[in-house]
Subunit: 553 residues, 2 copies
């Protein structure tokens, strides 16, 4: 019997990764990475707009060609044995496109226009628009908000589009429609880029664009019109039927197939966001929390569609079938985790004291020993506060505080943030029976994993695959290609966890229990507007002052 | 006419400095520095007791010999022209002594006993005892507290002695008496070290040991007995008449004189603490705030004895004649300023980014531009909170926060702390008409001085002499030696300010006005127990947890 394989293509923040996966056991035969050549490690920045983060859509296309052709070539596998292709991307990363579905950023006249590029997930320029959407949605049709945690984020689809309209009407006008990166890729690969008819995945639509069959798809024309007439027009150029990622978007178009050495017509699955496919690659099922820990985290759960689930305040999204068919997909997350460690190691510590050195020193410390406590909000707080305009805090510094102590306190802070998410899920009846971690940090840092186990007072498992997003994409490619009847069946064959499980240490957990109470006090005092003893204004006003000063510099 | 000179000897935290000063204009003819050879830059530490800071009294004696003989020799001045010697030291730095007044630390059997050495000003091991003294004083005789800001500090005389009794009864028993470093030096130099009769200066006694003629000297025997019978015994071995530093303690004893090349019998002034003599060397007078900015700050004012002055909550001390005869001496201060900058530059920033680099980068930033705000409490808060168990805080960090931004925010925090002291003085009717800065940072950092001017929205003057403490000591030596009738007369000749005055920038002051409000919110929320929206417990509990964990490590 000849083995069969699927191709998973995973678009991250800085690079795209193509993997060829064996359907027999989910093992990765070969992987090829292509780093986006544009900007700062693939991210286009603007010193005058610190919240801006864009990407060059050309990098997505070229990256596919380079990474996939390399993977296919190196695998040495007969293209006939590749049953399907799955693609995952970051999100919400909407791209303004013309009537043909071509990203504006790929057109010569918009090449150097930042607002015409892909608006990367971590772009927060639309924070005022997010607030406006939240406010109007709360007044008009509160139900829109209930499924996205009560607050519409500046990271999401409509905030970004509305912000574009406000700051760059020229680009906005030139955009016939806006397409999520996760939808653009399958459309491009299958040659069906017509914005009106191209398949749109439920995943990005549901989690980021407030799409829900309950109210007939995207938010109503009236509602969007009330924000801006332009948004209502965008709504009308959006396929009103969304699809799950186990569905086939189409067959690989001949031009692309030829460029990468695959067969034309190879099935391409509907796209979805990285965390959602990653959760599948990590073996998500009811009761299992999958934490994908990288620069930020996504915390994913599923819940059977036939069992009631309440709206959960502060949860980014509860969307039917966004992760697995037949299940609600729940998405929570932390706006920065690895990004915080990287910031600290790169900007704030003696040169040469990289992660290895800091981790080694931090590992020698006991919980509580440093007297430090941090809030993990350097990039805002996604869950449960849904507020990008929060900032980091460190308390307890003395004249003896060391870099390693601070590094550890930052790790602990992200663990407290993780626990806050688990607690919120459980408070609303979604029991967390198991935690499977994946992503770079889960792979590489036993220190982080042990601290997470101790802080959360739960065992921390690690996914067998080091690349669950790419594996998840390959799983959907395999299912869309007909190799398995269901995703569940594919997961059973292709996913698993490592033998090493990080178990909580009792005395560490006890100290962290005390520290978490203090974290919680700070969390509510600085993060919740209505809390007693409110310091909610402090971070806000610091940002206001900062932005005013920078504007006039 | 032959010029006349005085010798000023200034004992700092890490070294002793001897200067020969020309009485005609206060100019420094020669200076010699001797770094204390013991411990970590002169400070004895104990990794197990992070609050401990001691000094080897032998360093004081040897340092005098080395520094003074070098200064005298290099000056080439005829010893007959040296009219007197003044000495200032850190404080409260009490030294346990035997019946002969010999520091226990200089005896072979106590040589390696940390508790038998000098208890340096910044030793905070007696924090629990300080709280106990404050509590008992509040119950029994509140008046003791009113003159020292409402709280007795862990840095002070009785806290340290009581702590010694509690943790090291053996040393406590061996100590016949305890002598402030400022009193020990003149006693040693004049050969009159009998603890019962040696001159005790009003300065250290009044500010640190609750000595006040209002209640007949030291706190009553009953009160001290209620704390510990041992303290009452110490009281009985203490000269009940204190003296001002313009008085002569005695003549230089022949043995010491011979060692350093001075004449036996050269008048030696009564000792006082560095900040108090430094204020005199900077030209203190009513309405003038002298800020001595070094590792910590002392903020000094005087107020005529014949004008009423209220008790000022949080002010370290209001003591008759502790600075100038005929005036109340007012002492406030910040527990760490330069120490915070040094900590950050040494521990927390890329190697090679020393103060120069950080200052250069920080100077490019506008007020408010970083979005950062810090509390300057890495070593506790001396004025107005009088609480050593507070810690530093940084708020507003993002993924882009740089070391230079943080460095600037720390400078700004110390400026906000400085403004808090000025405001407190003025709220209680002590008008601050002029600010004269001195000390290493005032000399070396235009950035710090400009930020202080902008934050306080007042001109910042800098003392003409870079060594006001040593100059002040020399002034007292000159007055004690009879070269001037009054200190005021000597100041007129020997002190002044530099031409460069740092003037506040209007727009910077406006931004800092806003930031100060936020600083104040944090200050009260974390620092004041009774404030609304209280987070006073957070720093406290972090320290409790830290100390418990370290104890069991």
């Amino acid at each position: 019997m000849t083995n069969k394989f699927a191709l998973g293509v995973d678009y991250g923040t800085n690079s795209v990764r193509a993997v060829v996966v064996d359907l027999a056991d989910g093992s990765e035969i070969v992987a090829a990475i292509d780093n986006y050549p544009s900007g700062d490690a693939g991210v286009l920045l603007d010193p005058k707009r610190p919240l801006l983060a864009r990407q060059n859509p050309q990098d997505y296309v070229d990256g596919f060609y380079r990474a996939v052709s390399k993977a296919v070539k190196h695998s040495g596998i007969d293209p006939h044995c590749i049953v399907g292709i799955g693609v995952d991307t970051t999100g919400s990363t909407p791209i303004p496109v013309d009537k043909n579905g071509t990203p504006l950023g790929m057109l010569p006249e918009f090449k150097n226009e930042l607002d015409a590029q892909a608006w990367l997930w971590k772009d927060h320029t639309g924070f005022a628009e997010a607030a406006e959407i939240t406010e109007k949605a709360a007044k008009n049709r509160d139900r829109y908000l209930k499924k996205c945690g009560g607050t519409y984020s500046s990271e999401w689809f409509w905030s970004k589009i509305l912000h574009c309209k406000r700051v760059n009407p020229h680009v906005f006008k030139a955009a016939y429609s806006w397409v999520e990166h996760a939808d653009f890729m399958p459309a491009f690969l299958t040659g069906n880029t017509n914005p009106d008819t191209m398949p749109r995945g439920i995943c990005a639509a549901g989690h980021k664009a407030m799409f829900n069959d309950q109210w007939g798809g995207l938010p109503s024309e009236t509602f969007l019109h009330s924000l801006d007439p332009g948004l209502a027009a965008i709504r009308s150029r959006y396929n009103g039927v969304t699809q799950t990622a186990d569905q086939k978007a189409g067959g690989l178009c001949p031009v692309v197939a030829a460029k990468v050495g695959l067969l034309a017509g190879t099935p391409v699955a509907v796209g979805a966001m990285d965390a959602h496919m990653g959760a599948v690659g990590a073996g998500i099922k009811p009761g299992t929390l999958v934490k994908i820990i990288g620069t930020s985290t996504c915390d994913m759960m599923v819940h059977p569609l036939d069992q009631p689930i309440p709206d959960i305040p502060g949860l980014c999204g509860i969307v039917p079938e966004s992760v697995l068919p037949g299940m609600y997909g729940l998405e929570a997350g932390q706006s920065a985790v690895g990004d915080i460690f990287n910031w600290f190691a790169n900007q704030m510590t003696p040169k040469g004291e990289g992660h290895d050195h800091l981790s080694r020193e931090a590992a020698k410390l006991l919980p509580g020993e440093s007297g430090l406590l941090c809030l993990d909000w350097n990039n805002g707080n996604r869950t449960v506060l849904v507020d990008q305009l929060l900032t980091g805090l460190t308390i307890g510094t003395t004249l003896h505080t060391t870099a390693a102590e601070t590094y550890r306190a930052l790790i602990e802070a992200t663990a407290f943030g993780a626990l806050t998410i688990i607690n919120r899920l459980e408070e609303y009846g979604v029991a967390v029976k198991e935690v499977i971690n994946c992503g770079g940090i889960a792979e590489k840092s036993p220190l982080v994993m042990q601290i997470y186990a101790d802080v959360c007072n739960r065992p921390m498992k690690v996914s067998r695959s080091p690349q669950t997003c790419a594996l998840g994409a390959a799983i959907f490619g395999a299912v869309a290609g007909g190799a398995f009847k269901t995703v569940k069946e594919a997961q059973k064959k292709m996913t698993g966890v490592k033998e090493t499980v990080y178990k909580p240490n009792k005395s560490a957990a006890a100290v962290y229990g005390q520290l978490y109470k203090l974290y919680h006090d700070l969390h509510d005092t600085f993060g919740v507007k209505t809390s007693k003893g409110n310091l909610h204004h402090v971070m806000k006003q610091l940002i206001e002052i900062r932005d005013r000063v920078r504007k006039h510099k």
